[in-house]
């Protein structure tokens, strides 16, 4: 080990700012080795002892060749060392020179962090949903339609992998006609606040969702996964149930409130992520258990009235659950409530409501056309 450089007391000087007046004083430095302290001796003032362990260097400084040090516990006094030999001496003696000064106010910080989290949670999970539920009932149909248009565009843009153009709709004429016939059969005799528009998006997701203003959107993946047209019809009937009950409007209004709060928290650096999150929420919309039960009940009644076995809904869930487990697409969507088994069972029981003759929701030609709607 090389011995620490020694200092002849008379040779070491520094510029001293005492933090009381705007005057730079030339001070003499000396070492008090037994006390392990640097002695700062301003002219016409009592010398101060700065313990080596308490001396810190200012961080991230632009260098003009000098080193500025301060002492923990003294917020204002500064020593400006300019002479290289003096700098080396201080560097050799002060073990904590480059350590961060201890953080202050950590208790207060923790309290505010907790308060911030609590208030944001209160706003996102309590205040905004409560208001959204209230307001959704007052939104006129034309307004809902516009809200649906806007959110559909956002979802199409957000879901596109390349990020360069909105996700295309599937519009093969025969398939579109088949889908319209199916929708017509299910909505015959149902009082709708606005006409229903059904779209198919060209994407692998096995899912379907409803948007404000009467939009029901299927992903190609769901149509490919279905084994019979009745399964597609059953999902459509369930989403129509959400449309009739205006559930999507509540969710969309809720997002309008909470999205801004999230953007606030994350800063503009994650602007894109927030939009993506909005899309995610709308697709994987987790409605309340009552809303799901109401949509199921609507689906059962509508399917039965149209001569389609309501158990098709249960069959579809059952198979997806077996094939993909719990966390995939539509299963995750419907799995958000532990009573999935009950709902499959309820769908089976609803078959009892079938009165007239069974009629498949689409004939063989139409079903093939629907399966090829994206080509």
């Amino acid at each position: 080990m090389t011995p620490a450089p020694q200092i002849a007391a008379v040779e070491a000087y520094a510029d001293f700012l005492d933090g009381d007046v705007a005057v730079v004083r030339r001070v003499r430095l000396s070492l008090d080795e037994p006390a392990a302290a640097l002695v700062v001796a301003p002219p016409e003032a009592a010398p101060q002892a700065w313990p080596f362990a308490e001396i810190r260097q200012l961080r991230d400084q632009a260098s003009g060749g000098e080193v500025i040090v301060h002492r923990i516990g003294d917020p204002v006094a500064r020593l400006i060392l300019r002479d290289p030999a003096t700098i080396r001496l201080v560097e050799a003696r002060c073990p904590n020179l480059h350590r961060r000064p201890p953080a202050q106010n950590t208790g207060r910080l923790a309290a505010w962090a907790a308060a911030a989290l609590a208030s944001v949670a209160l706003i996102i999970f309590v205040l905004v949903p409560a208001m959204a539920n209230r307001l959704a009932g007052f939104l006129p149909p034309a307004g809902e339609r516009a809200l649906g248009d806007t959110t559909l565009e956002q979802i199409r843009t957000a879901l596109d992998d390349t990020g360069f153009r909105p996700l295309p709709f599937c519009t093969a004429p025969a398939g579109t006609a088949a889908l319209e016939r199916m929708t017509g059969r299910l909505t015959a005799g149902v009082a709708l606040p606005y006409p229903v528009t059904v779209h198919v998006l060209d994407h692998d997701l096995i899912n379907a969702f409803a948007l404000p203003g009467g939009y029901v959107v299927f992903f190609r993946g769901l149509i490919e996964e279905a084994e019979t047209p009745d399964e597609v019809a059953a999902v459509l009937a369930h989403e129509l149930g959400h449309v009739v009950n205006r559930d999507p409007t509540r969710i969309a209004l809720r997002s309008a409130g909470s999205i801004g709060v999230l953007g606030l928290l994350l800063g503009d650096f994650a602007g894109g992520a927030v939009v993506l999150f909005l899309a995610e929420r709308l697709i994987q919309a987790t409605y309340t258990q009552e809303a799901e039960a109401a949509a199921d009940a609507f689906a059962h009644a509508t399917l039965a009235a149209a001569g389609i076995p309501p158990s098709a809904l249960g069959t579809m869930f059952q198979r997806l659950l077996e094939e993909y487990g719990d966390a995939e697409g539509i299963v995750a969507h419907f799995m958000s409530h532990p009573a999935l088994g009950d709902r499959i069972e309820a769908a089976r029981r609803a078959d009892a409501g079938l009165t007239g003759a069974l009629r498949p929701s689409l004939d063989a030609t139409d079903w093939r056309a629907l399966q090829r709607i994206c080509r």
Binding site: V21, A22, L109, G163
Partner: protein
Amino acid sequence: MAATDIGTNFAGRRGRLFWLALKTSVLTVLTLGFYRFWMKTRLRRYYWSSVRPGGLPLEYTGQPLEKLLGFLIAVVFLAFYVGIVNLVLVFFSFALIQDNIAAYLLSFIGVIPFWFFAQYRARRYVLARTRWRGLRFGLEPGAWGYAWRALLHWLATILTLGLLWPRMTFWLEKYRTDRTHFGSVRLTQGGRWQMLFRPLRPLLFGLALSGGGLLLGSNGQPAAFWLLLPGAPLTLYGFVHYRVRSFQLLTDHKTAGAIGFRAHPRPLRVLRIYSVGGFFIVLVLFLMLLGFSAALAAILSVGTLGEDLLSELPDLMQALPTWATALVGILFYFSFFIFWGVLTQVFLTLPLIGHYAETLQITGAPQLALIGQRARDDFAEAEGFAEALDVGAAL
């Protein structure tokens, strides 16, 4: 320069700042934005210590954790406004006019007073954490007074098509300066607002030329479009000229007791920093985009480096598996913005601060010895509102 005047040195270096900015930006991205409070603190320490009136560096004593705390405080207040008010605005906007433009517009207008409020509070925080010669600067409270004054001045400026801009510049600067302290001494903004008309002249002239050219040109006299040739660059220069010369006049008329200031920034030099810096930034980012495209093309072994490579990018992206596209996209997105920010610091902020610093003199320096310390402004909210509202308090 009198014997009692002191000049200002600038010790900032591009290389050192580049690494500091790059390191802290990467950490900010990796921590999902959390490190930005540390980044801001560290960059300010560097900039402040670069500016050395009379050879003694300024010191920035702000702490990252107090910025985080201030941000959390602002979040508690703003979350309520943003959440509830936005929801109500979106509802009425869709209900009444079937569009959300009105909601965005109203939401934006509603935030403007907060914006000025936040600007003043951020300035108060930054001054309270700035020291020179061991003494603290400070700004008296008065953010709401500033906010409504700024609103009215803006309104007057817009209604007079910009003619009252000098009036706004002067009175807002006076409001801030007259509340600014260095240690025990208070600063005063002298002069009259009319003195700022002179700096406005190149801009007015440029606007008149361009406006006249456009007006006549689109009304059957196409030859008048030639007026844009001198008009447009003159307008651009006019903006810079006004900013620089009004800063100079305002600085020359500031006093702190018997201490005064002399600023000599040059509009053409500032314009050059903007043009050269802007050119470098665009060039580097364009090369990044080109390199990224070439790398992608090489990976896929499709196509050669043609001139329409950029237009083929969407198709190239489509050919990759989803996770790879997402990864490449995220990587590129963030490196683009990181470099944008870092290069702006290195090629614009640093040379601009350098120029303003090196052309600043302080007169009556011996009077400095009479100034004492002022008490610490324990300002818990820091610049939280500015941070949350993104008021451009990047520095």
